[in-house]
Amino acid sequence: MGNKVATFTEQQLEDYQDTTFFGRKEILRVHRRFRELQPELVPRTMSLEATRDLRLPKSLINTLPELKENPFRDRILKVFSSNGSGDLSFDDFLDLLSVFSEHAPRELKLHYAFRIYDMDGDGVVGPGDLKAVIGRLCQHERGLTPAEIDAVVEQILDEADVDCDGHLTAMEFSHVVARAPDFVQTFHIRI
């Protein structure tokens, strides 16, 4: 219990517990992971300013084993970075892990999944976004041919694009993906 006094004030911990899906133990663990990335920069005692303004560069956060293999890691960091640069403050980092945690509801996960897969950030997942996602997911050698990729994109739009405007809106996306049996389990990072 001595640790909790040193890192955050009781007030901060309470607030974090109200804004995330973590308990005290997890919040401290997240802080430990955050600090391990660059111990000389991140202080042991986090003030309000430090949690908000002290940012770690994305190149450093990409080295986390949880993100290292993820083909969407740059998108994740971009979505969760509060200033849009991809560098994360502690608040952003905690937010990220909270959304990916086990207890976060499906709707919240869907919201962020949509933003992650919306590669060009235009508010809809269009054919270009889909192609980019496929490109990241499939192998580079022995991968899909361009014709096959086109076929897959066509199939996806056929399945999910309810109003046939050539792209998926957030509504359409969540409508289809929410029914996927694996979504909640796979959109999950354990810290």
């Binding site: 109200d18 083909p71 969407f72 499939c138 199939q155 399945e159 046939c164 389990q185």
Partner: protein
């Protein structure tokens, strides 16, 4: 004057009070709304800074107003206000303690880091085995705790050891070997006369403190079986609620493959590469399927049919032979020379464990012969192993019940004689194993032999001992097989790979893979044994906890040191309920023999808590009869008669029938709606092009009347911004947000 003045004053005061009360109510409502904001803050898809700002504002509002409210409430003395104040305090305390309890629970969850490590290396499928193991561990913990609290501790503390006859304490002649390893290994000696087994418990109707131990024993067992059912069903319901209603997997194949294909937990390059190739392959397969939907599913050549027939025949032979072996072994254990050496004593357990380890491997080899799709092959393999396990358990149980019958008849003979002889003031005569009489043996010489012989005839303890031994032996064999199949193989491959004529890592032995399905089945089977033996051996869940604990460490060590990620990745969640179904079936099938023993078999007359009754369940019925007045007895007997039970059963069947037909009609409705949706989409497709043109034309013509609808837009924006908050709090969030927006502008 005075009166009217006083009346006026009173009225004024009353009005004031009313106003106070009304404003207090309004403030209370306001505070409640703000509290709701605080509670729902974590569901908002905002960044942390904004969440924290709004949260702090709402919190400070609550604090201020709640403080003022409390002060005001504290000053007034009306019952309503006192009540309200109490409610405020209570809510605060409840909120605090809930949070503390949640923190404590998350603090107590074990092996989180270990499972996480495995998850990041092997993906969620392998980790699902370990989370399943942990869940089974919790179940066993509950079983153990209940048995300990309600049965074991009262028995140890409260019963009188002198009064319990042959149940407790070793014979002096047995004491010499009671703590030898050999004896302990067989669960004889001091372990046999410990609370682990049924035979230890005494039959006194009540202890001195008034605790009805036999009744508690029976009732705890019953409740724990029900608890197991409820625990599994609750877990299943939770899982299926998570998966919503998605009975047709192929509905949105491509979208799901794309957006849920990647497992965000993967943190290992090799697993990542495997997953990528799996996704690529999945897309290719799906495209092919889409292209050739009309083609016949699979061409069955004569060759394949022959192979499959042969494979099934082989499997059937194997199953039969395993059943035959089990029957043979149990029969051999009743022979007189069964105690002669170590091998004969442990024959049953060793053979059973060997079968459950070797036969699945043979099944796998046979599965290769069949040439099914890997997914299909896995399913066949699972079904076969499940059948093998059940067959083995059931043959064992039937064989054991045969043994029990033999023991009961011998016991009966003994009892008759002992009663006769006690009346004639003599010792019990010897009763040889074959039932021959050896008359004329002196009392002192034979008494040890007699007593130990009698003690051996407690069939309930024997039943428990068999299952406990089986559990332990299974642990030993699993450990050995992990060491050989995984560890030594991995060491061999790693060391000799440099100096071998082919690539050991790529071709023949390779590194072991973690067989999720087989291992989960192993857990299910093990749990089945525990449920079966639990009633006659209350210590079995505790032993099982120990076993699961060890198993978790051994398995996770083996996975992390010597296994490689699966090449074909099966998803965890889809099979989640499948495993729970297996567990449920196992539980049901394992309660059947126990129920049979409780209702049909006669308990031993010299050991265990139910020795006074002619059937075990009589402890329940007789206590019930004792507890109720005589006038109610006819009601009870009527309720238990076929006159009530059969109509009840019929009613239940009707209800089930109704529910089944309801759910099938709902499913039909869902498919209807789906087709309707599809049709409408097709119609829409035709319209869209026209609409697009129109819209383009309209966009040029119409200047937006944005100003007029700006207020409506703002509200809509708020609605959009707060999509997951309940409707109530939406009324208040904009206020706080507006303030925030003003603050922001000022700070800029």
């Amino acid at each position: 004057m005075d009166e009217t003045g006083g009346g006026f004053y009173d009225q004024q005061q009353q009005q004031q009070q009313r106003e106070v009360a009304e404003s207090a109510a309004a403030a209370l409502e306001h505070v409640a709304l703000h509290k709701e904001v605080v509670q729902n803050m974590r569901y908002q898809p905002w960044d942390m800074g904004r969440k924290l700002r709004v949260l702090r504002r709402a919190k400070s509002f609550v604090r201020q107003h709640e403080g003022a409210l409390q002060q005001r409430l504290a000053e007034s003395r009306t019952a309503k206000d006192v009540l309200a104040r109490g409610r405020l305090l209570l809510a605060k305390a409840v909120q605090l303690s809930v949070r503390e309890i949640r923190n404590l629970i998350s603090f107590l969850v074990p092996w989180e880091a270990r499972i996480k490590e495995i998850e990041s290396l092997f993906g969620s499928a392998v980790a699902s085995y370990f989370t399943f193991l942990r869940w089974v561990f919790w179940i066993n913990l509950v079983l153990t705790a209940c048995f300990a609290v309600f049965v074991v501790v009262p028995e140890v503390l409260a019963t009188e050891w002198d009064m319990s006859g042959e149940r407790k304490g070793l014979l002096p002649e047995e004491k010499r070997t009671a703590t030898d390893l050999q004896t302990l290994w067989d669960f004889e000696g001091i372990l046999k006369y410990s609370p682990i087994f049924y035979g230890f418990y005494s039959n006194a109707y009540e202890t001195n403190e008034g605790y009805k131990l036999p009744f508690a024993y029976f009732f705890t067992g019953l409740v724990l079986y029900m608890y197991s059912f409820v625990a599994i069903l609750r877990k299943m319901a939770k899982n299926s609620r998570m998966a919503k209603l998605s009975d047709k997997d192929d509905e949105c194949t491509f979208t799901w493959k794309l957006f849920t294909g990647w497992d965000f937990m993967i943190g290992h390059p090799e697993t990542g590469e495997n997953r990528r190739s799996a996704i690529t392959l999945g897309f290719k397969e799906a495209l092919l399927e889409e292209a050739e939907k009309e083609r016949a599913t699979e061409k069955l050549t004569r060759n394949v049919i022959c192979r499959r027939l042969a494979a099934n025949f082989l499997v059937l032979m194997l199953l039969c032979s395993s059943a035959y072996i089990v029957v043979l072994v149990v029969e051999r254990s009743t022979e007189p020379e069964a105690e002669s050496n170590w091998w004969r004593q442990n024959e049953i357990t060793v053979i059973l464990s060997l079968i459950s380890i070797i036969f699945p491997n043979i099944f796998e080899l046979i599965g290769i012969l069949e040439k099914y799709h890997p997914r299909r092959q896995l399913r066949w393999q699972l079904a076969r192993i499940m059948i093998l396990n059940l067959l083995n358990l059931y043959t064992l149980i039937f064989a054991l019940f045969g043994k029990v019958n033999a023991m009961t008849t011998r016991l009966h003979r003994k009892r008759r004689r002992s009663i006769n002889d006690e009346s004639s003031n003599c010792c019990w005569p010897d009763d040889g194993i074959d039932g021959q009489q050896h008359a004329g043996i002196p009392v002192k010489m034979s008494s040890f032999y007699l007593k130990s012989n009698l003690r051996k005839l407690c069939w309930e303890t024997m039943f428990g001992q068999e299952l406990v031994k089986l559990t332990i032996m299974d642990l030993v064999f699993t450990t050995i097989s992990i060491l050989i199949i995984d560890f030594i193989r991995a060491v061999f491959v790693r060391v000799f790979n440099g100096c071998w004529c082919w690539d050991l890592e790529k071709y023949f032995p390779q590194y072991g893979e973690f067989k999720i399905a087989e291992n989960i089945l192993h857990l299910v089977n093990n749990q089945g044994m525990v449920w079966m033996g639990m009633f006659f051996s209350p210590g079995l869940p505790a032993i099982n906890i120990f076993k699961l604990f060890l198993l978790l460490y051994i398995r996770s060590w083996a996975v992390l040191t010597c296994n490689v990620p699966h090449e074909v990745i099966f998803k965890a969640s889809r099979s989640n309920n499948f495993y729970l179904w297996l567990l449920l079936i196992m539980l049901f099938l394992c309660t059947l023999p126990v129920a049979y023993a409780i209702v049909w078999l006669e308990p031993s007359w010299h050991c265990g808590p139910f020795s006074e009754y002619s059937r075990i369940f009589h402890v329940m019925t007789q206590s019930l009869l004792k507890a109720t007045p005589d006038s109610l007895h006819w009601v009870l007997s009527y309720v238990a008669s076929p006159g009530v039970v059969i109509p009840l059963l019929v009613l239940l069947i009707l209800v089930i029938y109704y529910l089944v037909s309801l759910s099938s009609s709902l499913r039909e409705a869902v498919t209807d709606l789906r087709t309707q949706l599809r049709r409408e989409r097709d119609a829409e497709r035709l319209k869209t092009r026209q609409k697009k043109k129109e819209a383009e034309a309209a966009a040029v013509a119409a200047p937006a009347d944005a100003a007029a609808s700006s207020s409506a837009k703002v509200i809509a924006q708020w609605r959009k911004a707060v999509p997951f908050a309940p409707t109530k709090s939406q009324t208040i969030l904009p206020q706080t947000l507006a303030k925030e927006a003003v603050d922001k502008r000022q700070s800029k």
